[in-house]
Symmetry: C2
Subunit: 421 residues, 2 copies
């Protein structure tokens, strides 16, 4: 396609999504829930077809030499399809955020002002291999009254198409425009670039994937992007920490699932406790062969630790590797986090309330944990019943984002003829 063809294609998709968004925004909670239940039913009924389409992707992925972990994330099976259906039913049961009156007040001149939650409009999701992201995002966008444009990775193309088409079929059978859910079927990246510029129609882009993908999206976009580049999460073990609690929390934060964004990458430990604490923790870490990269003082305490370089402090290992630094105070810990961290999730373990308070005040991350593990930073763990992503931005939604993150508000002002003097 020529540049102009890309532009036309993107414009067509964005325009259809925007047109549909007016219908989506005006669906009742009941109508939206009915659609979600019907898609869940369709997923179960069409299981055989979904597995067949998915096997085309898996076959191509094998031929293309995808890694076994990527292939695993790509592959559907009966259980995964059932999980997808159940997850849509769970979303249907959540409270509808649209229409909620957030605040209401009256002005001296009698004007009644309400701040009412409304859908954002059109949301563009850009993601990589997992086909269940298609169902997840389409479900959350429908529930919040938005249209969604899904741009999944090439690896999952047939799976994504089969899932998106189920949504479209159900929308149509409910006399709603199927363009409430659009899968981008031409995978030229230029089309994504064009979609990211369509300010008039697309209200938000959410890239879900690696840092390179996200940086590319931000560099092109003329529309708002909600994202986190990476999760360089810290646990700071204060001088007064309960030794056992600190060991458990640090081990959990690093090892319960090292490959995810809310796992710990760097441990900070107060020098007044380092000599006692580090050997205890390292004993546990050795049991899972976790590598230690330490500052000079850490290396003195833990002889088998490698020397950390400046780059290590910025690193998101997503693996059994832990950077360790000895610090002299809460303030120094906070300064380290501010400098090297990613504003995702950071924790303090302490028995001194004043230090916890100071840490919470100084650390400006989207989630700050006191005496618990960074791994809890998650929409489900926070009780949102859903998660469309985690934002480390400061504009709009921050931290784990559920349905509310997919909404905005408008002011409704009711009067009886008041005029401006």
């Amino acid at each position: 396609m020529t540049n102009n063809r890309f532009k036309q294609y993107a414009k067509g998709i964005a325009g259809r999504a925007r047109q549909a968004s007016f219908e989506m925004a005006n669906l009742s909670a009941k109508a939206k829930n009915k659609i979600l239940f019907q898609v869940a039913g369709a997923l179960r009924r069409e299981k055989a077809f979904l597995l067949k389409e998915n096997s085309r992707d898996v076959f191509a992925g094998r031929k293309a030499g995808l890694s076994s972990s990527l292939l695993d994330r790509l592959t559907l099976n009966e259980k995964r399809i059932e999980d997808m259906a159940a997850s849509l039913e769970a979303v249907a049961k959540l409270r509808d955020p649209a229409g909620e009156v957030i605040e209401r007040w009256k002005r001296p001149n009698g004007l009644r002002i309400s701040k009412v939650r409304v859908p954002l409009g059109v949301i563009l999701i850009i993601y990589e291999a997992r086909p269940n992201v298609t169902q997840e995002c389409a479900g959350l966008c429908i529930k919040s009254g938005n249209s969604v444009i899904l741009r999944g990775g090439r690896e999952a193309f047939y799976s994504n198409k089969a899932i998106a088409n189920l949504f479209r079929k159900v929308l149509r059978s409910n006399r709603v425009s199927p363009d409430g859910v659009i899968l981008v079927e031409r995978l030229d990246y230029e089309i994504v670039d064009e979609l990211l510029k369509r300010q008039e129609e697309v209200n938000l882009a959410i890239p879900r994937g690696g840092e390179a993908l996200i940086r590319r999206v931000v560099a092109t976009a003329r529309i708002p992007v909600i994202k986190h580049y990476k999760g360089v999460c810290h646990v700071y073990v204060d001088r007064s920490a309960d030794m056992r609690m600190a060991t458990e929390i640090a081990f959990n934060a690093k090892c319960q699932r090292p490959s995810v964004c809310n796992s710990m990458e760097t441990l900070l430990v107060h020098r007044g406790i380092a000599k006692k604490f580090l050997p205890l923790l390292v004993r546990e870490l050795k049991s899972v062969k976790c590598e230690i990269r330490g500052c000079a003082e850490t290396c003195r305490i833990i002889p088998e630790a490698k020397k950390a370089t400046e780059r290590d402090w910025y690193e998101e290992y997503l693996d059994y590797i832990l950077a360790v630094r000895v610090v002299r105070s809460v303030d120094e810990a906070a300064r380290h986090i501010r400098k090297y961290g990613s504003a995702h999730t950071d924790a303090i373990v302490t028995r001194t309330p004043k230090n916890a308070e100071r840490f919470v005040q100084l650390v400006d991350s989207s989630s700050v944990m006191v005496n618990t593990t960074t791994r809890f930073s998650d929409g489900f763990q926070y009780g949102f019943g859903a998660e469309i992503g985690i934002s480390t931005d400061k504009i709009h939604a921050r931290g784990p984002m559920g349905l509310e993150g997919l909404t905005s508000y408008k002011y409704v002002v009711e009067g009886n003829g008041q005029l401006r003097q």
Copy 2:
């Protein structure tokens, strides 16, 4: 300067502002209010100096042939300086938004989660000639705990510098980094371009000025921008409207101050009432020599109306010109507003609650008025005590933005050793 010099200069400013933002965010409400009161005092004390500096701008402006309305906006006098001081004192008296607990809940595993309001960090304001914007924005940013980078227009350079320096002096005398308020003193536009790319340090850009300025900012920015391009506001007069109320509201919306963004540009009127209503309104509009540009049906009813072209429906006149269109229903009015409007502020005048409700539901503008004038869409009129701008975006703050629009939130999670299973 070479490109690289621009880059270095922007980097320097942004880095200093970010460094100061940690101090700003940690000031108590009392400390922030003290600073604002002291700046108000300094403005009054330094009145003579401010007037002298301002006269340099006015002199240069006259020589450069600025229009009389621009010169008026640029000129300070004793009253305007007193207004600036009083406005800072008013901001000092507002509730401090930072630190507010927005929500708090407990999870079944005992984790206590709070959603706490926090400052955004560093805010970049890009504006044109009015020097009081300098005081206004610096005041609101200080109150909300942010650093601000002010990039004012060349026309007001000496005035802006004098005002910004008062802020910096007071910050310094309170042992706070003066870089909480930075005026960009090199006016090469390339520096603005660079600042708009500094994602690591700058959290938000707010352009205040004409559409061309705003479009340029959006095209360059890699950071979030909050804005409205223009205000194409509508009043829809429903068939059941009280005739007198509708006339008063329409007249007020158009004529109380035509040059501002929340004044009406297009009147929509139900065809069942047009023949009676339009002549009544036009009689009023004639008294202020307001020009009418109408659809075919309007022109039949009002012979002196000019024929409106398609472009008129998109137009922000900011003048005594009104576009008028006859429509057949609330839905048609809403469709017109969706297509041609700017999502700023739109009003319905009706005695039918069902129609008001339908209008509010269908019109997705940042403010929707029922039986009152669009002119009330304003932070002060809404009771916010301040306004840093009006946003027609759907991300983050929408509609008139006060102090809350300059804040974000973080989650604080407190536990007693909970681990993720």
